[in-house]
């Protein structure tokens, strides 16, 4: 971790706000590599504590189930980042609220809780709600072009040919 912070000085760039004169691509890369470092920073203690627990005979799920950079959808990303927290919220918030049927609504409540839980700060609430806003297009698109519907339409077209 120390070596990473030393050679990959993106964290100090962002902390010192030393991005003046950088191109938009460079700024976005500073943000991106910051995220990758957070990913690793969290992964190390989680895997250590999981290992400890497993060695004691208690099975717990892995928290970071995939790499940061190979996510193809926002939903998948949130399912595999801090996975046990995600499972906890599905069991105790999401399903009692009605599950997938009301997803577009209760995702707001879930992320409000996520923000409050991380720290009670206004900018975190804004962060949570922005995530919901950015999730919405994906939710709508998934519903419109669900696998079942697409397959149905192609079947129909095949029959008419």
């Amino acid at each position: 971790m120390e070596i990473t912070l030393h050679y990959l000085y993106v964290v100090s760039i962002s902390k010192a706000k030393a991005w003046e004169g950088d191109s938009p691509l460079e700024i976005s890369m500073v943000g991106y590599f910051n995220l990758v470092i957070i990913w690793m920073k969290l992964l190390i203690p989680w895997r250590f504590f999981r290992l400890w627990s497993l060695a004691d005979g208690i099975w717990v799920e892995e928290n970071m189930v995939r790499c940061m950079s190979n996510n193809f959808s926002a939903q998948r990303f949130w399912k595999s980042w801090h996975r046990t927290f995600n499972r906890w919220m599905i069991r105790y918030i999401y399903v009692p609220l009605g599950g997938t049927k009301y997803m577009a609504y209760n995702v707001w409540l879930v992320f409000t809780f996520v923000a409050l839980w991380h720290d009670i700060e206004l900018r975190l609430l804004a962060w949570g709600w922005l995530i919901c806003l950015f999730l919405l297009p994906e939710l709508i698109a998934t519903r419109l072009f669900s696998e079942r519907k697409v397959r149905y339409r192609t079947n129909m077209m095949c029959t008419f040919d």
Binding site: I3, T4, M29, W46, F49, S53, D56, W59
Partner: protein, 185 residues
């Protein structure tokens, strides 16, 4: 911390299968979330000036109330799992080979929702500070059982963790940044 967890246990235990149980549990735990933040993890100075000197010895984890958020999740898990266990119409039995999913969904026997199990679960050292989070049902169904599968998996994970820790991610990230930077200059 014992007072907070104890209060939450009393809420769950006394209300049991009543609908008030999850409602009060959520209200209490959210209130704790806010008050921990507001009082900055509670200072002795708040009781009186003469106790102020104790604030100078914050212990190993001075910011305990930040990490307490993980404990809060376990408090809710215990109470709500107990609520569901009380309201289960058909009692499903644990069989010899339960899957990961069944360990979470199947309720434990009602007498398993006691204070000793509660404390074991809430204060379980390896997972105390920051998880991974496990649900009460899942945890209790594993306590005192011998899992060959777990032992087998630990072996692989131990090796990979030790190999993983000092080398791979650091080097990979360095190479990634180097490739990115050098392609622009």
């Amino acid at each position: 911390m014992l007072v907070i967890t104890g209060t939450s246990f009393l809420i769950g235990c006394s209300l049991g299968g009543s609908r008030l149980n999850p409602i009060f549990t959520w209200i209490f735990n959210l209130a704790i979330l806010f008050s921990n933040e507001y009082y900055d993890g509670y200072r002795y100075a708040a009781i009186g000036k003469s106790y102020e000197w104790m604030d100078e010895y914050p212990g190993v984890i001075s910011r305990w109330h930040i990490l307490f958020n993980f404990t809060m999740l376990r408090l809710i898990s215990f109470n709500v799992d107990y609520f569901w266990a009380c309201n289960e119409k058909i009692k499903k039995e644990h069989h010899a080979s339960v899957t990961d999913r069944e360990r979470i969904q199947l309720s434990c026997a009602l007498q398993d929702y006691n204070y000793i199990n509660f404390l074991t679960y809430v204060l379980y050292t390896p997972l105390l500070l920051c998880g991974p989070i496990i649900t009460f049902n899942d945890f209790i169904s594993q306590v005192g059982r011998f899992w060959f599968r777990v032992l087998y998996k630990t072996k692989n994970i131990s090796i990979s963790f030790i190999g993983h820790l000092p080398t791979l991610p650091n080097v990979m990230l360095y190479v990634m940044l180097y490739v990115f930077w050098s392609s622009f200059w």
